[in-house]
């Protein structure tokens, strides 16, 4: 049984040993990052965090000196102007906090931060993961707080309230208020209508009946014109667009019942033959609003809506001026500014290299995980990270017009053109609504000829009895249960159509980087030549690579025994160094053999290949070993792909990586449809082409470069490691990296569809049964109300079966 990390639950690499005593027990960790966080937590006396939490924590990203410097830049008063308000020496700012997995994280953060000297208040909202921070600027600094948050393993960014966010908050508060009004009015109305239902004409005096009706009218009026306003507005829109949804009969029922009851209250003589339905109107509105509110809550959960593309680019830049190096807020960068990008920093804008030589990690943009060489004249994109040496770039595009920003703009466009999903409920509902409206009219006409006075009450009773309460609950309740179930497994449904879309998916496209693979290189094969043995070759290679920061070097780390000396790096080619008096070269074949054609037979390279050679005193190069490195497959990738294929879903790979490595992975998984070295535009075109062939496409991805294609696909699933903005724009987010959950989700989608169908059959069946009875005027109002509630309960209980 392999041991897993106490902090993040990931496998502990073989041979790695980091332990800490927590609550009297020794616990092991997978990396020094996790260990450092645990130490911080324990030293703050908050080890209870590990007992409180219900979800494992996220594995922290490495935190280096330059990132620390970047955080210190937030103390810059010029930069703070944008997001800090100061009132009588007390500063206030809003922070958006990432990596929060459960309520215990919030407890931990609030405890730790409030313990810092000078902090007045620090509270985190459990739903939006936004924090409000107030502090005394002369006692502590903003960077102290940000650093502390970072040390606990979370990420924090200052964020600005804009108009749209304020609007959203008002909208949410408004809907709570609407529910409150409807709820209070329902209770009051019940109190006044119960005597009328139970007492009958004999026991109540007419003046009390009049009083109860008037009070009910007063209570019900705000419900109709304030609480039910969203339904009325939506119904009006439906009429204008000639598209039937549930809102139309709901509105007709509410308005008709309300106006008829009002008419009776105001004008008709007091008799118990004519009923008022104020209680039904209020209750109906209350239940519908409640259902919609829960639906909205599920949708917004975990999804931070204040992620902006700004977070992809650093907020500050180091600018070279005649007076030396200064820091500048990123949005003030102008074209032509000379930016200094140190090792480990992210480029704040697009530019051309003026001075220096380095490598850039462009994985955020292209998905390519090997760094790209940059020399004088090369283009550096904003949002990519400098891996090696400090370089100077001349800005060619401001952050707003950088390549990252262009991708975001493409995303908006793709979203706009996304094929709209018509939900099953909507289709059924529109037919049902049409049917109810037609039969109510027919019944009305019929009664007009038989008994003109009864027309209004009969039509009304049809609309009330067929109140599509159960029908409107059929889908949301099933969705809520399956959402809860899948969330407990680690898949978060963000949009309403996700389950529908899963059922009709014919093609699933994986982005290779980070979805099917681990996204890091590992040694997959070693060939040795000229009497070299494998373990010696690995020791030498590891000794040389210990001087390199290239990701390839990580693959050799497990074999590290001692350091080589006199190591020289030839950028883009390899390393030369000496160990125990012998000189070795490690790099590509041309470098290792100094452009001499090898005598030994070398296989056609597939994946990344590194060669080791010995350099003798007289400059003879002898090939010693060939290392094959490849990106390792995720554990469940194979079974996941097989299971999709068994369900008849075509599996594709669409990657920004080089053809070689992509084909290697595709071959291992048995995937035939492979496209490599694709730009975001090409990926989107590929999806469009499939869609033109009437295929329903689901896309699984994680990079910023996948954003447009994720939005273009009918169903998009982002991996947990994806950037926040990718997650936000996807239909579903896989919070852990277990691909098997995807299979489970597709199976659950199938079950959900069945349950929804059962619910609808029941709801419609019940309503159809009641319709003729109501049309004949045989159903008393209290029975209609009781039946409606029971019918809804059946639907709710049926939906709950999905949770198991």
């Amino acid at each position: 049984m392999p041991e897993t990390c106490y902090h993040c639950d990931e496998l502990i690499p073989r041979g790695f040993n980091a332990v800490l005593t927590i609550s009297g027990q020794q616990q092991a960790f997978c990396c020094y990052g996790c260990l450092a966080i645990a130490e911080t937590i324990v030293s703050g006396g908050l080890e209870n965090f590990y007992q409180h939490r219900t979800q494992v924590s996220e594995r922290p990203d490495p935190f280096n000196q330059s990132q620390q410097d970047e955080i210190h830049l937030y103390d810059d008063k010029a930069l703070q102007e944008d997001f800090v308000t100061i009132n009588e020496g007390i500063s206030e700012t809003h922070l958006s906090i990432g990596s929060i997995t459960c309520a215990a994280c919030i407890w931990l953060l609030e405890r730790e931060i409030n313990n810092i000297e000078g902090i007045h208040r620090f509270t985190i909202n459990h739903t939006s993961h936004r924090a409000i921070l107030t502090w005394a600027d002369n006692e502590c600094s903003l960077s102290t707080v940000l650093l502390k948050i970072r040390k606990l393993g979370y990420k924090a960014h200052p964020y600005q309230d804009d108009l749209a966010k304020k609007q959203a908050q008002i909208e949410k508060r408004m809907s709570i208020f609407r529910i409150a009004i409807a709820g209070i009015a329902t209770m009051q109305n019940m109190m006044f209508s119960l005597p009328l239902y139970l007492g009958g004409a004999s026991s109540i005096d007419p003046e009390f009946i009049a009083l109860f009706r008037w009070v009910s009218l007063i209570m019900c009026t705000p419900v109709v014109f304030f609480s039910a306003w969203p339904f009325l507005k939506a119904a009006l829109r439906d009429v204008q667009t000639r598209h039937l949804t549930m809102d139309l009969p709901v509105s007709i029922a509410i308005l008709a019942a309300y106006s008829a009851s009002s008419y009776i209250t105001l004008f008709s003589s007091i008799n118990l033959e004519s009923d008022v339905y104020f209680d039904s109107v209020a209750m109906f509105t209350f239940f519908l609003l409640l259902g919609r509110f829960f639906e909205m809550q599920t949708r917004h959960k975990h999804l931070n809506s204040d992620v902006e593309f700004n977070q992809l680019l650093p907020a500050t830049a180091r600018v070279q001026t005649p007076d030396g190096e200064i820091s500048k807020p990123a949005h003030k960068i102008e074209i032509g500014d000379v930016l200094i990008i140190h090792q480990g920093q992210t480029a704040p804008a697009d530019g051309i290299v003026l001075e220096g030589q380095s490598r850039f990690d462009e994985s955020a943009l292209t998905g390519e995980f090997l760094p790209i060489n940059k020399t004088v004249g090369s283009v550096v994109n904003g949002g990519t990270a400098n891996v090696e040496n400090t370089i100077l770039i001349a800005t060619t595009a401001t952050p707003k017009h950088s390549r990252v920003a262009a991708i975001i703009r493409m995303l908006d466009q793709a979203q706009h053109e996304k094929p709209q999903t018509v939900q099953l409920a909507d289709i059924v509902a529109s037919y049902f609504v049409a049917f109810v409206l037609v039969s109510a009219s027919i019944a009305g006409v019929f009664w007009y000829f038989i008994e003109p006075e009864a027309v209004f009450s009969t039509v009304l009773s049809i609309l009330v009895v067929t109140c599509p309460c159960a029908l409107s609950l059929a889908t949301p309740t099933a969705m809520t249960s399956v959402n809860t179930f899948l969330r407990s497994k680690g898949l978060l449904m963000a949009k309403g159509h996700t389950i529908e879309a899963m059922n009709s998916t014919t093609d699933i496209i994986f982005d290779k980087t980070g979805t099917l693979t681990e996204g890091k290189l590992q040694l997959s094969n070693t060939n040795t030549f000229n009497q070299m043995n494998e373990s010696n070759a690995l020791t030498v290679a590891a000794a040389l690579e210990s001087h390199s920061r290239h990701p390839i070097a990580n693959a050799f780390k497990p074999y590290f025994k001692e350091k080589a000396n006199q190591v020289e790096t030839t950028l883009g080619y390899g390393l030369q160094g000496s160990l125990k008096g012998k000189t070795y070269r490690l790099g590509n074949i041309a470098f290792a053999l100094n452009n001499v054609t090898p005598r030994d037979k070398i296989d056609e390279p597939l994946g990344v290949h590194i060669f080791l050679s010995e350099v003798s005193g007289d400059k003879q190069y002898t090939l010693l070993a060939q290392f094959e490195l490849s990106d390792t497959l995720r554990e469940e990738s194979l079974s996941c792909v097989k299971s999709f294929q068994a369900q008849g879903i075509q599996v594709h790979i669409l990657s920004g990586d080089h053809l070689n490595s992509v084909q290697h992975i595709a071959h291992q998984l048995g995937i035939k449809h492979v496209k490599a070295a694709q730009s975001p535009e090409q990926k989107l075109n590929y999806v469009r082409k499939l869609q033109q062939e009437n295929k329903e496409v689901a896309m699984v991805g994680d990079g910023i470069n996948d954003l447009p294609v994720l939005s273009g696909a009918r169903l998009s699933i982002a991996m947990g490691g994806a950037s926040d903005i990718t997650k936000l724009n996807s239909d579903a987010v896989l919070l852990n990296s277990h691909m098997s959950v995807l299979n489970l989700a597709f199976q659950s989608a199938n079950r959900t569809r069945k349950i929804i169908k059962q619910n609808m059959t029941w709801a419609i069946g019940y309503n159809l049964l009641m319709l003729p009875l109501a049309a004949m005027g045989m159903i008393p109002p209290y029975f209609a109300a009781l039946g409606m509630s029971l019918s809804s309960l059946v639907v709710v209980f049926n939906s709950l079966r999905l949770k198991s």
Binding site: A104, H126, F208
Partner: protein, 68 residues
């Protein structure tokens, strides 16, 4: 029973007051976080007050029940 003609309007006044207070609470941001309070009440630091596990093995708190 005529007292109802007074009591019911009074109750309406109370309802109106309740709605006004509710509206004020919502506006004040008290309903912005619907989950937090439910969790935060459970995170008391009462570890010191919980009896030692050796004292009463049967009633000991499930300290390690949530295995990370």
């Amino acid at each position: 029973m005529e007292i109802l003609f007074i009591l019911i309007p009074v109750s309406i006044a109370f309802v109106a007051l309740a709605i006004w207070i509710f509206g004020w609470a919502i506006k004040n941001g008290q309903y912005d976080d619907l989950e937090g309070p439910a969790h935060s009440i459970l995170f008391d630091d009462d570890a010191d007050m919980i009896p030692d596990r050796n004292d009463k093995p049967k009633t000991k708190p499930a300290k390690n029940s949530i295995k990370p």
